[in-house]
Symmetry: C2
Subunit: 159 residues, 2 copies
DNA sequence: TGAATCAAGTTTCAAATGTAACTAATATTG
DNA sequence: CAATATTAGTTACATTTGAAACTTGATTCA
């Protein structure tokens, strides 16, 4: 038997409120990760995301990174600046369109990428470790649905 | 039959990386919510969290809000300042300990609280709408486990 | 072709956030 | 009960983030 009124209709338990839980979880995870490679490799999370994409795709422009990282172009521009400073990426002008900049991991960047990927994967594994196989599969599905539902609301996707 | 190497061992698909997904989801949700009451009620998310707690508990101090909102004391101080400016809360000195400030919703704050709660709940419901009952239950459990696992890493919980 | 429009990326400026230092009050203890 | 340490909360400063303006190059279409 469950109590008749666990939560009165017009109150809200913050600690059970999904947006709150997501925010707390995401912040904790981001902070942990930032600590993990921020120090060692002089990377922000944004810069790491850009590297993660450039590790899999070559000759991308900043605009293409915007799409693939869910970051805005200002954030991309800053991440790219940091990566250039670290010599983790190369930038060359697209001869067909001289506004466009073609980005790629440098050899050093490739090496750093190769060192971070296992760290990232093992962090993710550690985080998932309390979940059963079934739960992991459920989580995957659930996140997919939530992400689809929480589409960038205001339709000013591109500005 | 699944392909032999969906993801080569040393690459990382950002779009499937849990920390990335959590960050994107949490940001979308937070932005949607900020739009929902930021404008109408002149509230930040921090301020809303404080109100959410004060709607359920009376006579709290800022330090108690720190615990219940997972925000740091500077954020609480700023949220409280905004709420005072809006006349959504009252602040009075604790006679037993004159450093302590006793916070409560004002009548106006109580009214605003009563108007926001249904909006928040309905947003949450909408977000959860693509999930089955079973999935919602799973999600609850999964988040609990992930939050426990992603404990604020560096142990400087209180400083 | 040559205005006018549009796209790629950067810079600038304002707002938000985090850390550390600070003020005021209480608690400790020698 | 004074000196010291601790706690509550705010302020100041530095860093991050986002929005809008800007620059340069490409495209449109009259």
């Amino acid at each position: 038997m469950s109590s008749a009124k666990d939560t009165p209709p017009d109150e809200l338990k913050l600690e059970n409120f999904l947006p709150y839980q997501l925010s707390v979880l995401s912040n904790r995870v981001s902070n942990a990760i930032a600590e993990a490679y921020g120090q060692r490799f002089n990377l922000t999370i944004s810069a790491w995301r850009v590297m993660a994409i450039l590790g899999r795709f070559v000759d991308l422009s900043a605009a293409e990174l915007v799409v693939r990282t869910a970051m805005d172009k200002v954030a991309i521009s800053r991440a790219v600046a940091l990566l250039l400073k670290n010599d983790y990426i190369t930038r060359s002008e697209d001869i067909a369109d001289r506004r466009r900049q073609v980005l790629n991991l440098s050899p050093l960047g490739r090496e750093v990428y190769g060192r971070i990927v296992p760290v990232a994967q093992s962090y993710e594994n550690d985080l998932l470790s309390p979940l059963s196989g079934h739960e992991r599969a459920e989580l995957k599905q659930i996140l997919k649905k939530l992400l689809a539902r929480a589409q960038t609301g205001n339709s000013r996707e591109m500005d």
